[in-house]
């Protein structure tokens, strides 16, 4: 749940007083034209926005009733996983090492537990069958789509309570994109997914609810079907019918 979130890059007021709620077991898509602040918005949810120079955020982001901005950011980022626009595997690590990276970071896992979680995460991200024979090989051997699913596995391994995805398929070919979308569809039953996308069809395919952001403000949030078929706001309607953006 987000209350009155505001964020800035230097003097640019990128997010202006956004409040909304993300229900459990659902995928929520955030759409809007380039530069509307949708990436910035989800980057505020796990407090990675503030790691950029001159960036800051204010407001309340509640996870299990606790304000994210009152807690240790590293703990928050473990609980709120994130997948980025471009696959950013660790190039010096093996496939296994990439998935285990977060677990090793937090410690307290036995060898067997790490093994189990790595396998489980690779299965959840639908990559297991393709990599089970070559877990110790470099992650860079994988194709772009596989690398992105490896990033999803890496995020899932630390058992997050929410998964943020920042245009996860924008750098991928159509087939890889379809696989990622299928994956999101399955994942949302285990962990709520918040996905930023500039692709309205993608939002329509994967999301239960869709929020439309424009110029840093939340214009409308509604069940996906309603938003696309009966938008309440004139602005939403002109965007989804392609009149701007």
């Amino acid at each position: 749940m987000v209350e009155h979130l505001n964020a800035w890059y230097g003097k640019t007021h990128a997010i202006q007083d956004i409040s909304l709620t993300f229900p459990d077991k659902q995928a929520t898509a955030i759409i809007g034209p380039s530069g509307c602040g949708k990436s910035t918005f989800i980057r505020c949810l796990n407090r990675i926005h503030e790691t950029q120079p001159k960036a800051r955020a204010e407001g309340r982001v509640l996870l299990d009733g606790n304000d994210v901005y009152q807690e240790d950011p590293t703990e928050i980022r473990r609980k709120i996983g994130m997948v980025f626009q471009r696959p950013n595997v660790f190039p010096t690590m093996s496939i296994y090492g990439n998935v285990a990276a977060g677990l090793k970071l937090h410690g307290g896992y036995s060898h067997d537990e790490i093994d189990t979680l790595v396998i489980e995460s690779l299965k959840k991200s639908a990559l297991w069958d393709e990599v089970k024979e070559k877990l110790d090989q470099s992650a860079l051997q994988l194709s772009g789509g596989q690398q992105q699913r490896l990033c999803i596995a890496r995020a899932l391994a630390v058992q997050p309570e929410v998964l943020l995805m920042d245009e996860p398929a924008s750098a991928l070919d159509p087939i890889s994109t379809a696989r990622i979308e299928d994956l999101i569809f399955d994942l949302k039953h285990q962990v709520p997914v918040i996905i930023v996308t500039h692709n309205m069809q993608q939002a329509a395919r994967v999301a239960d609810r869709t929020a439309f952001l424009y110029l840093g403000k939340l214009v409308e949030i509604a069940p996906t079907r309603d938003l696309f078929e009966r938008p309440a706001e004139k602005l939403t309607e002109s965007y989804i019918t392609g009149r701007f953006g």
Binding site: T74, G81, F90, P91, L105, H106, Q137, L140, A155
Partner: protein, 346 residues
């Protein structure tokens, strides 16, 4: 009527045609052609110059090795491979004996300790400047560090001789001996109390290689894409963990390369080492002992060496070259195996 413009236009390249079609042009000659000829000539000249330069670059090291090898021949023939393990350098007693092992050991020891001290320091500095320092601090601190690279080595030598050597004698050596004296590396011997020693030279070398290692590894760290840092941060990494998982891992080949550059400089450095190493031909078993490196031995002796000793000194130079080459080759092999793990198949 249509003949004059069509004639040259059909016979020649398009350039003269366009010139013929524009009457306001004052020059009757096609203006482009002489320029083109000059350009073609320049092209050939440039090609020839580049070829000659490349040939020189290849010929110079070959000639250098040949001539140095020729000068060293007398010593090579006289002592054979035993020169490499011989410990004694004596030009006074009738059967003159020259051996290089003391100096080889001195070079390897000082360079290794210099790396041991220099790498963590410069890497720490590089990480600070690349990852942690606020923007306004970055440029000034970086230029101060780079300035260190511009200090001539004889100035480092002077500072070493007048400041560091006495300080080592009065403070550092006794302190280390007190706490680490149980180890033979830090044992105090008669004649090892001057302050000029293998350790002192190593410290000077460590300072001298700081700017090289830190600026090269700083650049490597800066070249790491932000997405690597964010990958680590998004897993819940702290700042240090994110640096380790992100830039430090991503830039490790660059950092390794920086260390090899530093090692190369440390092995070849002459002036500052000669002024602080103590210049003793005896094998230094303790770090407090005065010693000698390949380069410092050459620098100390070349002025008055004649005959076989001169040839033996040249052979020391040859060994130093071979060592540097070896370091480079090994580094390249290591680098290749590192990148093979990192980027296999791509």
């Amino acid at each position: 009527m249509g003949e004059p413009p069509a004639g040259p236009g059909a016979g020649e390249a398009p350039l003269p045609k366009s010139a013929g079609e524009s009457p306001p042009t004052p020059s009757p000659e096609p203006p482009g052609s002489s320029e083109r000829r000059r350009a073609r000539w320049a092209d050939e000249a440039f090609g020839a110059f580049a070829l000659a330069a490349a040939a020189t670059l290849v010929a110079l090291p070959v000639l250098l090795v040949l001539i140095v090898g020729q000068d060293a021949q007398a010593a090579i023939v006289r002592f054979g491979p035993a020169f490499l393990i011989g410990r004694i350098w004596d030009s006074n007693l009738p059967p003159v004996t020259f051996g290089a092992s003391t100096f080889i050991a001195g070079t390897l020891e000082t360079s290794a300790i210099a790396l041991l001290i220099g790498v963590p320091l410069s890497l720490g500095g590089a990480v600070f400047l690349a990852e942690l320092a606020p923007d306004w601090l970055r440029a000034p601190v970086a230029s101060v560090v780079d300035l260190l690279a511009a200090v001539p080595s004889v100035v480092f030598g002077l500072w070493g001789l007048y400041v560091l050597v006495p300080y080592m004698r009065t403070s550092v050596d006794p302190f280390l001996a007190k706490y680490l004296g149980w180890s033979p590396l830090f044992a105090e011997h008669a004649g090892s109390q001057s302050g000029a020693s293998i350790l002192t030279a190593s410290i000077i070398l460590a300072i001298m290689i700081l700017p090289t290692i830190s600026s090269v590894s700083r650049e490597a760290l800066r070249a790491t894409p932000d997405s690597q840092r964010e990958a680590a941060l998004s897993l819940g990494a702290t700042r240090w963990e994110a640096t380790r998982l992100g830039p430090l891992a991503y830039a490790r080949t660059g950092i390794f390369g920086a260390a090899v550059l530093g090692l190369g400089r440390a092995m070849g450095e002459t002036m500052a080492v000669t002024m602080t190493v103590g210049n003793s031909d005896n094998f230094a078993s303790s770090l407090f002992d005065p010693g000698q490196t390949l380069s410092s031995k050459i620098a100390i002796n070349f002025g008055n060496a004649v005959g076989l000793e001169r040839s033996a000194l040249v052979e020391l130079g040859l060994i130093l070259m071979a060592l540097s080459l070896l370091v480079n080759v090994v580094a390249r092999l290591l680098l290749r195996s590192m990148t093979r793990i990192g980027k296999a198949g791509v």
